[in-house]
Symmetry: C2
Subunit: 369 residues, 2 copies
């Protein structure tokens, strides 16, 4: 066997996004112990910078040592007890996955469905909250990576809070790419991913939990089924003070990468990052328009960082994607689930969201189509 | 906030171990997509090399996308159903963690205990198997990282198999450091860590499941509680063929690192790696003897890669460790649980297991004590 040298790609799919050379360098720094005082200092900085990215004062803000799906599971496993009624809003793959999480734990999932490509409908949620006064949690996806639709997280949380429900929000694709305000919007538990608009490598899931979520967690009648994701234990390691209790071995180098990506976010400024994603999205949109390619999602709820476009009649999904990869080293995403073969997902996330990438893609598509 | 530049340490604790520069370089290679054909080719090589390291033909051999504790949880979450009787052998921290896994899932844990520092007693296991003919699984730790004791995995598995039980084996610290033969010894499910004798960075847990384990998994009456760790789903991504179904986003760069560490293992040869760990252990042992430092574990069951030594009377645990770290940049491990303050754990794992490190440590200890 030989060392693996990856090809040089431009990652324009649904994530991972292109990783900045500064972040790649950080990954190669010498591994140190996960209880080393220097490492604990770095962990504290990661927590501080994640609070900045989420716009929250939540003390319980840190990265789970596993990808976004584990962050999702951390939220449900800690906050849902068997028998709890959870309203799950489904408008794509990741809403369905939330439902799976609820039912496997023994919770009762009440489903609101919207067409794939549409945002979550607040009126349906309100009606559902009225019909289910005993519901304890509302869960929805802020930015549906499978469809490219952005839901009105602020309004949905307002409704949930009004009816006494906690909120669990999937911000895997939105964090650092779209406006997101955890404290202002009343989000009780949120999870994201390192490999989208933060442009770090995959493998970490930043999460944040507010006081009401911690109250629910502290008053559980049953143990959290997952030992690995039990926040009561994880916080012994990610908590306050210089003494940290060993729980599991943190992915040291991946955390170096996340730290560097967050340093870069503070340098750029969070709002500047949001507007860069928006500006570059418009560039891409205008270019695709001249190629006759249209969007799945209406402009009013379109994600700037995840452009889901309808595959023009007569074109082979796979042939085009394979050609972009083989001839131009550009990786765009296929449709997922019921949208497989119907859409492409063009990511402009994090370091990928640059003018030169858009120009390269448009020119490659023009030649390919 | 500024970039984080870690201090230069020599990692001589219970893991992570020092990472070879070749592996650090691999981590910094450009991130590509987790469904990229080039990446899938690399995944296949990782699987092949893990089969070599575990000495198994098990098709279901791959790394879980999270640290060793999640690998442990993957074994229990998939193989234990509510009500299942599981015999758990406890002779340190990680056996206790296994018990936690069993009971949180709703299994019934039957405990055999041995003193910390002793190997698992096969006679106790045999008696327990006779007393519990309805037990379905036997779980034990091959190399107890908390005590430095090696148990006779071959004999324990033989007994379990004779009584019709499946075996779950913790090989976090043993893989590539001590003799371990998954197929020959009749191990049904096993998990390890990337950051010990493989010297890759923390964050991955190599696992392997044999036919009998897969049979139990396929015939479950209840869904696996964890969506993230459900092998029925994970295998859609890590399975055979060139088509892989998206499950979660794999930690791409960390897998580059594991790949490189496994290439280095094939270059050195598995048995050579075992004997290097043994030879260097003897060097350290002889040196510690001249300093008057003795071992917790009897020579017959002493782990070469994890040397747990008794803190000499009158010395302060923390002062010595802090001094080694501050003055020599050498990181050794504290005792865990009931052994806290009583032992030091000196790791000679993977790339750390080199003569020059042993000499540096011995000379630093001589000056410090």
């Amino acid at each position: 066997m030989k060392s693996f040298i990856p090809p040089t790609r431009t990652l324009m799919g649904p994530g991972p996004s292109d990783v900045h050379p500064r972040i790649l360098s950080a990954m190669a720094r010498q591994t140190i112990g996960h209880l080393d005082p220097a490492f604990i200092g770095m962990m504290d900085e990661v927590k501080e910078m994640l609070k900045y990215a989420f716009i929250t004062e939540n003390e319980l803000t840190f990265p789970i040592s596993a990808p976004g799906s584990a962050g999702m599971e951390a939220c449900f496993a800690n906050l849902v007890e068997p028998g709890d009624k959870v309203i799950v809003c489904i408008n794509g793959v990741f809403g369905s996955r939330m439902k799976e999480n609820v039912t496997r734990i023994g919770g009762q999932a009440i489903i609101i469905e919207d067409d794939w490509g549409m945002p979550v409908n607040p009126e349906k949620l309100e009606q559902c909250l009225i019909d289910n006064p005993d519901a304890k949690i509302v869960a929805f996806v802020h930015a549906e990576t499978s469809t490219g639709a952005l839901s009105d997280a602020k309004l949905l949380c307002e409704l949930a809070n009004k009816h006494g429900c906690l909120t669990i929000v999937d911000a895997v694709t939105s964090l650092a790419g779209s406006e997101l305000r955890v404290d202002d919007w009343g989000i009780d538990a949120i999870y994201s991913g390192s490999q989208k608009c933060l442009s770090a490598m995959p493998g970490l899931s930043p999460v944040s939990f507010g006081d009401k979520a911690i109250h629910k967690l502290s008053n559980r009648k049953t143990a959290v089924t997952s030992w690995f994701l039990d926040l009561n234990l994880v916080m012994g390691y990610w908590g306050k003070g210089s003494k940290r209790a060993y729980h599991h071995t943190a992915p040291v180098n991946t955390l170096y990468g996340l730290h560097e990506s967050l340093v870069m976010l503070t340098e750029e400024g969070l709002e500047n990052s949001w507007s860069r994603h928006q500006k570059n999205h418009q560039l891409l949109r205008d270019g695709l328009q001249t190629l006759g390619i249209s969007y799945l999602v209406d402009e009013s709820s379109r994600l700037p960082q995840l452009n889901s476009v309808i595959i023009p009649e007569g074109l082979s999904d796979e042939e085009v994607r394979n050609s972009l990869l083989a001839n131009y080293n550009i990786d765009i995403g296929a449709g997922l689930g019921i949208l497989g073969g119907k859409i492409w997902r063009i990511g402009l996330m994090g370091y990928t969201s640059r003018k030169e990438n858009i120009e390269r893609l448009l020119s490659a598509m023009k030649e390919t189509l």
